[in-house]
Symmetry: C2
Subunit: 247 residues, 2 copies
């Protein structure tokens, strides 16, 4: 059986905070656990925030801001996080981030900042490294090395609404590859290439209250997917542009 | 807390079988439960299968089959389920199904058929109606009306691997719309438009063994999302072509 439970009582996180310690103080970890963390607290702990007051918008940001009805300084921050702008229509900037994620506004975010709405939260600079570091810290503090998944909410092509996906992973296979294996009646499996860490991110989000501060979710029942090695991370989930039919 | 548990012991399902009875015999339903069903058993129960031996491929199917290395009769069945073909490259047909779903091969499927690989399984003709009918049957048999979600595994643009998504929903809001509401510090929420039924489908899939027959998963802990009315179904998750930046 799979279970997912959000941790209560996490304080507001600021740059330099020890997220591992905050989590370890609130849960008794056991082998095979998965700790799923909304990226915002990771970004805040890593100081990955920018104040609009510190940003000077360039020409492109000013033009895009005017076209999509956004503060040009906000657009500048998005562009700073963007490797390639795929679409800019109807107030939405669909970006390929420097990490290679395709998402709205390069994952740059405003809400949930006690500091006020002039502070933008970026994605972690290297989310897989952040996941590995948090895993190592939890192992150090508790003796248990849970898998760690760092998430964000992404929109999708073709479907309404957002789902949580994995942007950083350590200690489990992000992409479960059953291709070539056969099913219970000896035929090749259909769903043979499963975005395990994305499904897990979505499952964890269901256990959260969206309007309360529950960035951390403990998932149990997936111990068979938890590995001793940190593994290739969420980078394994990125479809290279050359293989992508929809850019 | 959220929990997801796959039901064991479902027999091979054939046309005319009473899926509600098979499920009700294997689980004690309580108010607020969600029953998540992989579409294949629904399609089989509804007789939504086609034998290749009965199919005559037309010109377009023959040309596409040659180009993508598929049996032209198989391609004909895919085209029969397709409203619009978005891409046909590298052996993959990305289709808009007659329902409006965007997915590979219009959801037409081969594996897990005891009848052999010459039998193709289609998506249910009206998955939301299938979900409503199963819900009504479960209410009739047990006195409890769980939410019912029918799923399929879809690939995504930009990301590797497949995730389970909802193709039919009854008794819960498929798309949870928090737009305009505020979060715990009074700022507008970011993830305000949540594809709840898709996240639920992905969560349920994590509880399944992919190589065993566990099409039905019982999800608990989401009773606050279960509604008396059947609601608008998975149709609410479809992004109209005119609003879609990636077709």
């Amino acid at each position: 059986m799979l279970s997912a439970r959000a941790l209560d009582g996490l304080p507001e996180v600021a740059a330099g905070d020890d997220l591992g310690e905050l989590i370890a103080a609130r849960v008794e970890l056991t082998a095979g656990d998965v700790v799923v963390v909304a990226h915002k607290v990771v970004s805040k702990a890593e100081g990955r925030v920018r104040r609009l007051a510190d940003v000077v918008a360039g020409e492109r940001a000013i033009a895009l801001g005017a076209a999509c009805g956004k503060d040009p300084r906000h657009v500048q921050v998005i562009l700073d996080e963007t490797r390639e702008l795929l679409r800019s229509e109807r107030g939405v900037l669909i970006c390929v981030t420097r990490h290679g994620f395709v998402c709205a506004n390069a994952g740059v975010d405003t809400s949930n900042t006690a500091a006020g709405s002039d502070t933008l939260i970026l994605l972690p600079a290297e989310p897989d490294a952040s996941a590995r570091a948090l895993r190592a810290r939890l192992r150090e503090l508790t003796g248990v090395a849970p898998a760690v998944v760092i998430t964000d909410s992404f929109g999708r092509a073709w479907r309404h609404g957002q789902v949580d996906v994995a942007i950083g992973v350590a200690g489990m296979v992000a992409l479960d590859d059953w291709r070539g294996r056969t099913d219970s009646v000896g035929l090749e499996l259909r769903a043979t290439w499963i975005a395990l860490a994305d499904q897990l991110s979505s499952a964890a989000d269901l256990a959260r209250g969206k309007d309360s501060r529950q960035p951390v979710v403990l998932v149990r029942g997936l111990g068979h997917h938890v590995t001793e090695a940190d593994g290739p991370g969420a980078a394994a989930l990125l479809r290279p542009a050359a293989e992508d039919l929809f850019r």
